[in-house]
Symmetry: C2
Subunit: 243 residues, 2 copies
């Protein structure tokens, strides 16, 4: 009887670990997909490729399905396994991160929609989109780094992502100012510039969500909620010994 | 012994119910606060009252503290009480709704910041802000209705909120078009109009978050995730008998 019980609880704990790593894998799959969506949407803009932009919009369905599936699985794991301490924090972090990833997917979809509007607007001159390209690379790197930090339970890497967000905000402000000047120079530019302004804004939001992802990684590893916490205090949290 | 055990489990279940209703109360407190923040930010704009706008920005700290506190309490309840079925759905919904409320608070803070920029910009003519006022009332009503639906476990009321969101999107688009025209007429209007454009956008986002709140209420009551679900299918979910 005892042996049976032990076998049973070993079996349960094995299943549980499988479920936890399944959740992690699904989150990373979703993360890879939304990062690709951002990349493809920006490429579609730069190449004036409205077919590709349309495909990005359609693929958002896959992002949404992943969100619903992971959420369902996470709630099932909580109900069935009643995880405690660090396991519970892992599941809670996955639930929070999924919401941010879904929103990154939404921003990619918005960029794709705006790309189509720009491609179809004859008044818009071909442009190099230097700033868009630059900020897009920056925020995609942040998303990737936040997901890497999640995989490796690496709070230092997560903290680096949080610090990057201020740089993105500055880049966004400077690009937005340049667009405003361009609009003032010639009102015929207004409609095209507005669409680019919304694209910059969407990319800046992707940076915000990457910042959130990093905060959730720190919560998962350290058990401390560092949202709304000044950078110096976050540093103190990271210096704390693990619980 | 048996009597003791019964007393004990009655005590536990009494405590648990108290904790659940405590969570609900805190969520409603936070909801009331962010709705007031939106109202005050828009009033500050209309009355060109940068002092009030500044107070809105500072009060966002209270919103953030509520978010962190409710989240902490919700995770504690899950860890300690291991709720199942509808109780777990309630706690999960609270966690999701808190995130949307915090973002509504963020939008109010943005509006307050933009109101200050507008008040301090001498080039901006005094305006009546008809559209801003109208959309603000609309989305504040949605937030209130979603919270009422939450209190009363009322999925029909939640569904009404979801349907309102399309109307808000139309109002936003029409107001944004009017601002674009105003910018094209006179480039000197561009900077002031851009600030108003961001305010409209923030209000439209408040409507999106109210829509999310309503979706979480339906999940809480029906156990079905209706995000990313066409309206007709949501109706079918609501027609289903309760589980």
């Amino acid at each position: 009887m005892v042996a049976d019980k032990e076998t049973y609880s070993r079996h349960i704990s094995h299943k549980f670990n499988e479920e936890l790593s399944g959740l992690k894998d699904q989150l990373l799959t979703m993360g890879g997909l939304v990062e690709q969506q951002v990349a493809d949407a920006v490429e579609a803009l730069i190449n004036a490729d409205s077919g590709e932009a349309q495909r990005v919009r359609e693929r958002d369905y896959e992002v949404d399905q992943l969100e619903v599936g992971i959420d369902e699985e996470a709630v099932r794991v909580i109900a069935l396994r009643q995880p405690a301490a660090s396991d519970l924090r892992l599941v809670m972090s996955v639930i929070k991160m999924v919401a941010d990833l879904e929103r990154i997917g939404d921003e990619a979809k918005k960029i794709a929609k705006l790309a189509i509007a720009i491609v179809e607007d004859d008044a818009v001159q071909p442009r190099s989109y230097v700033e868009v390209r630059h900020i897009a690379n920056h925020v995609r790197g942040m998303v990737r780094d936040a997901l890497d930090a999640f995989t490796r339970f690496d709070t230092e890497a997560a903290f680096s992502v949080m610090r990057e967000d201020d740089a993105v905000d500055d880049e966004y402000k400077s690009a937005a100012r340049a667009l405003m000047t361009h609009m003032m120079e010639d009102p015929r530019n207004i409609s095209g510039c507005m669409n680019q302004m919304w694209i910059l804004r969407a990319l800046e939001r992707v940076g915000d969500h990457a910042d959130n992802l990093a905060e959730h990684v720190i919560f998962m590893v350290k058990g401390t909620d560092v949202r709304h916490t000044p950078v110096e205090e976050v540093e103190q949290v990271l210096r704390k010994h693990d619980e």
